[in-house]
């Protein structure tokens, strides 16, 4: 995707958001007239700025946008974090983290098991001491808490 087509893409997205805001604020009840006025104001500014972005000339030469520099690692990181979030309520925070950290480190190409185990141990001990032991945060227990 070139920079100019990316700008057009974001401008159209901005106009869509402005329209959605305008539509949403229109359905506010009378008692929230002030709130609606503020949202109309934001929608108006959003629409104007998006239009400026749409018609604005991109400095030449029009380069390609590099969205992801290392697609493989990026994919592993995003998928790993999302899967980690999904697994926490089921497995519990500490077991999920104990699996997530070594697995993602391995997927990202790190091959020193001792440092992986040591790193995981240090992070989880630190989190346990600060968040659970001292601050009493009730971390998700998953199946172990039932």
């Amino acid at each position: 995707m070139t920079r100019s087509s990316m700008n057009r893409f974001f401008a159209v997205g901005g106009l869509g958001l402005a329209a959605a805001l305008f539509y949403g604020a229109n359905s506010f009840p009378d008692r929230a007239a002030d709130a609606a006025r503020y949202v109309f104001f934001l929608a108006g500014i959003f629409a104007v700025l998006s239009l400026v972005l749409l018609v604005q000339k991109t400095p030449s030469p029009d380069s390609h946008v590099v969205w992801v520099r290392s697609p493989r690692s990026f994919f592993f990181a995003v998928t790993g974090i999302v899967a980690y979030g999904a697994v926490i309520p089921r497995l519990g925070f500490f077991p999920a983290s104990a699996i997530f950290m070594p697995l993602l480190a391995l997927l990202l190409g790190y091959r020193r098991p001792l440092f992986i185990i040591l790193g995981t141990g240090i992070i989880l001990t630190f989190v346990y001491l600060v968040f659970v032991y001292f601050l009493g945060v009730p971390v998700p227990q998953g199946i172990w808490g039932e």
């Binding site: 974001f10 901005g14 958001l17 805001l21 949403g24 506010f28 009840p29 008692r31 929230a32 002030d34 709130a35 503020y38 949202v39 934001l42 500014i45 959003f46 700025l49 998006s50 400026v52 972005l53 604005q56 400095p59 946008v65 590099v66 969205w67 992801v68 520099r69 290392s70 690692s73 990026f74 592993f76 990181a77 995003v78 790993g80 974090i81 999302v82 979030g85 926490i88 309520p89 925070f93 983290s97 997530f100 950290m101 993602l104 480190a105 990202l108 790190y110 440092f115 992986i116 790193g119 992070i123 989880l124 989190v127 600060v130 968040f131 601050l135 945060v137 009730p138 971390v139 998700p140």
Partner: protein
């Protein structure tokens, strides 16, 4: 006042008091450095612990946590681009680029000295001018708060590195996201789609962690270390942490801004850090270096957010009005000890109150010594392989987002903000401006709505009050250099 200073000083010589202040500062630094844990949370949790302590010990402990916590936020902001506290968000703009260049130790040293002097300046203001300054803070009404928020929002212009339109769009996107939740005036639920977790609005801390931390680790997936593309000599200099010259003016100005903004109830350390950063950039001879690792950016933000510590205690101790949420928690600690904020604190309980104020000086010295000693060791984090650092930061981001409300919804929100922030950054938008809009949105909206109610709909209320006029003038002065340089760039491009 003088009759209380000597007994207050004597009371601080008790080794137990010194131990409690040091413990408080260390706990504060740890809490401040951890994303998701705030000084408010730490002070609130300490209140039951302080119940059995003497009033001076309890206040000194909470003061130490407050000072240390405000400084601690800078550590993770600089090294991992993960602000431990919202107030440290502006510190990351130049601190993290410095860490990427192998100057993490120097950035931490700058942050430590700036936080120290910011804290000292504001504590002096608290000690010497508290009653007079408290009266001044009461002159701020809704119109002044609205214009102050606009002044903070003018930092969007400063934070924008590339396209001004994209910078403004980012800021307005933040303001739009801030409208989610209950309307502060009518109580009407806006854009919550029936999701109860959004009734109080988009939680700020998960958004901040996502935008700064997750988006950053996604970017790091393409590199092996934070300090990549630098030679071995620079890598070995990470441990060196000499303080750059020429920061005194920036630090003093930041301390004053922090004190003034800090004593305005509801304004807070985050706004003061952004305003101070804006001032530093606009008055610099090399504004184009800001955002790329200019130590003045770190100094401006850190001196201002620590300047808020003393500032926020001015209305609390003199009028019983807490300047921010930490001061509100501290007020709980005061009242548990049977101390009612007001003039009596400075007369009947003078020795205790001045002892507390003087203990803040010691807390600043404690974090200065610790910070300077530990900065080179902390800085080594930047040479850890990213393959280990990325999952580690992800775990801290998840627990940090979760711990605020003990809610997995916040974790998902943080991940969503992180992925969206990554693509927005790649598209040339500013996540800093987005965060600013998110912070200032509620203050601006409330000030705007209340002012129009006061004036029965007339917008002239924003222009006919002396303080408003002064704030407008400062705002315009701050924006002129940024717009003129932007116009020059456009002119050069067309030529």
């Amino acid at each position: 006042m003088t009759e209380f200073i000597l007994p207050a000083l004597t009371s601080l010589l008790d080794p137990m008091v010194l131990l409690v202040i040091s413990t408080g500062s260390i706990v504060g630094i740890i809490v401040g450095a951890m994303p998701g844990l705030t000084a408010t949370m730490a002070v609130a949790l300490l209140i039951p612990v302080t119940f059995g302590m003497s009033p001076l010990l309890s206040l000194a402990l909470m003061g130490g946590v407050y000072s240390g916590g405000m400084y601690g936020g800078a550590i993770s902001a600089i090294l991992l681009s993960t602000p431990g506290t919202p107030a440290a968000a502006a510190t990351a703009f130049d601190g993290y680029p410095m860490a990427r260049q192998g100057k993490g130790g120097t950035a931490l040293t700058v942050a430590t000295w700036a936080s120290f002097w910011g804290g000292i300046l504001s504590t002096f203001a608290l000690l010497l001018m508290a009653p007079a300054l408290a009266k001044f803070s009461l002159r701020f009404g809704p119109p002044e708060y609205f214009v102050l928020a606009i002044m903070g929002l003018s930092s969007i212009v400063t934070l924008t590195k590339g396209s001004m339109v994209k910078g403004l769009l980012s800021g307005f996107l933040g303001l739009t996201i801030a409208t989610v939740g209950m309307d502060p005036l009518s109580g009407f639920m806006r854009f919550t789609f029936g999701q109860m977790d959004l009734f109080d609005g988009v939680p700020f801390m998960p958004a901040l962690i996502g935008l700064f931390s997750i988006s950053q680790i996604l970017d790091l997936t393409a590199e092996t270390r934070i300090t990549e593309n630098i030679d071995d000599a620079t890598l070995s200099s990470i441990k060196r942490s000499k303080l750059p010259k020429g920061l005194a003016g920036t630090i003093c100005r930041g301390g004053v801004i922090g004190t003034i903004v800090g004593m305005l109830p509801g304004a807070g350390a985050t706004i003061s850090a952004f305003i101070s950063y804006n001032f530093a950039k606009q008055s610099a001879k090399d504004p184009e270096t800001f955002g790329k690792g200019n130590p003045k950016g770190v100094a401006a933000a850190e001196s201002a957010n620590n300047g808020c510590v003393g500032g926020s205690l001015i209305p609390l101790l003199t009028l019983g009005i807490p300047g921010n949420s930490v001061a509100a928690a501290l007020m709980g600690g005061l009242m548990i000890q049977g101390l009612i904020p007001g003039p009596e604190l400075f007369s009947r309980y003078g020795t205790l109150t001045y002892g507390f104020i003087l203990s803040l000086f010691i807390a600043n010295i404690v974090f200065l010594v610790l910070g300077l000693y530990l900065a080179p060791y902390f800085a080594r984090v930047t040479s850890t392989p990213n393959a280990l650092l990325i999952p580690g930061i992800a775990i801290l981001s998840v627990i940090g987002s979760y711990a605020i409300n003990n809610n997995m919804f916040d974790v998902w929100l943080m991940i969503a903000f992180g992925i969206a922030g990554y693509f927005l950054e790649k598209g040339g938008f500013s996540t800093g401006a987005l965060v600013l809009g998110l912070i200032l949105g509620p203050i601006a909206e409330l000030g705007f709505g209340q002012s129009l109610i006061m004036s029965q709909g007339s917008p002239m209320i924003f222009f006919d009050r002396p303080l408003c006029i002064l704030l407008w003038v400062i705002t315009l002065l701050l924006m002129i250099p940024a717009f003129s340089s932007s116009l020059k760039k456009t002119k050069n491009r067309t030529e």
